[in-house]
Amino acid sequence: MSANTHSQDGAHADVTHHAAGEDHDHDHAEHGPAYGPMRWITTTNHKDIGSLYLWFALVMFFIGGAMALVIRAELFQPGIQIVDPMFFNSMTTMHALVMIFGVVMPAFVGLANWMIPMMIGAPDMALPRLNNWSFWIMPFAFAILLSTLFMDSGGPAGGWTLYPPLSLQMGDSFAFVIFAIHFMGISSVMGSINIVATIFNMRAPGVTFMKMPMFVWTWLITAFLLIATIPVLAGAVTMLLTDRFFETSFFSAAGGGDPVMFQHIFWFFGHPEVYILILPAFGIISSIIPTFARKPLFGYDSMVYATASIAFLSFIVWAHHMFTTGMPLAGSLFFMMTTMMISVPTGVKVFNWVATMWKGAMTFETPMLFSIGFVIMFTIGGLSGLMLAITPADIQYHDTYFVVAHFHYVLVPGAIYSIMAATYYWLPKWTGNMYDETLGKWHFWISTVFVNVLFFPMHFVGLAGMNRRIPDYSLQFADWNMVATIGAFGFGFSQLLFVYIVVKAVRGGKKATAEVWEGARGLEWTVPSPAPYHTFETAPDISRLAVR
């Protein structure tokens, strides 16, 4: 497909690429943003919408984080201490829904909005009005979801997986939960279609697929995963809705339905979702490590193929979440082996990051610290994932805190760390100001100490048999739970430092250069800092530039 047209949307129909080397950023300097709240409501500018997504994710991060602190406060000591058990269950369910759909996914979409057009030399996203719509659905979806906590029947309390028959025992607020999930899904699918259309149609001349930065590649593959899986989740929750309110029996054994079928459909979405939450992180880390190692990314081609392999394999591993439901031996073996196979392309990535750093002229600015933290701690989460892939062992680990430790290691020092690394890395480009490096390093080290104090003990109590999703537990688990709760509060409050650093950089600070980082490569570093409101309305000349 042609890469030299910007005509996907009427807004760009008349934009043509010209010869290279022109100073494109000054041609449209007078077309700045509008003023007032209507700027943000009606904007179709990819940078504005990226900022909206990122601020939204930050707000939701603190809402979801507050829920996590309620959970950890209750678990500080055995016994029912602070909250009603039903509310505790609502907190575990809502915490997951908010963190997955309200924090990690919107933050990655925000980063995609900001960076993909600038990385591929496009003036904006392909479908700017759809982009505006994708974002503005989200606050309404989450307002509906969070409002269920104030309804008579309370918020969802059956876990984020919404397994029937438990989820079907919820009150009338369940309809609002399903409605909210549908809206989140519509937003995600529209955003993904936009990203695919942008990458396919809006690349500057010469930016071939194999010259795209890894962040663009990982997002392209993630967008296809989203388009393929979110509708399946929507189908599953629609059937839950009709089972609950319209007397169907899709998943009700009493009416001839099959509750385990829901689990199959859910995890057909749910496991690729895991990679939706981590592939863009791989792209971010693949951008940052070469910059601070001052070397090109080792094994770029293998990184692309590894990403595609992970995406493919993610569709054929779903039943490893269901080993304890009982399945034929052949099924267990198949899902165990395919799950283990994912460690091969993932290992390729970790190897390539380490090889990129090998003999590099490394410096350890805050984005690099978060990236190295990512590589080490994501690998810890990956290794416990391998343990969980072993069917007979999983029957022991299933539904224990070992699983909680595993997925929090890949999601917090994994996905969340990558978002923080990306924020520190690109913040000077977004704001034109350098952030406070000393405070950034403090933020990293405090977070890293507390995140391990929080999640590492969960391995111990999980292996000893402590169940997840319970407000009470046996006395022998008390000490490590106390430690984990101290870690949770330490990690939670250390994120206030992150907000302070970001707000301080937005308000002012040492002026950033266009390149910002000495070893930075790519088109986004060729535009001034802060990036002008409109960039690359004239296509850049990439013949003299390293695009990736």
Binding site: A126, N201, P231
Partner: protein, 52 residues
């Protein structure tokens, strides 16, 4: 009445139709909608969950 462009003998630039301009996002939307309907269709028809 002829336009200036037509009078000069050059053909006016034709803007591609809606379906052609938006064929990629529309086809992706069709895939998404089909997967949504397909997941329900699978249970209703293939698994025969309704009517048992």
């Amino acid at each position: 009445m002829k336009t200036t462009v037509q009078q000069s003998g050059t053909r006016p630039a034709q803007r591609p139709g809606f379906l052609r301009r938006y064929r990629l996002p529309l086809s992706l939307a069709v895939v998404a909608a089909s997967l949504y309907a397909g997941s329900i269709f699978f249970i209703v028809v293939v698994r025969g969950q309704i009517g048992t």
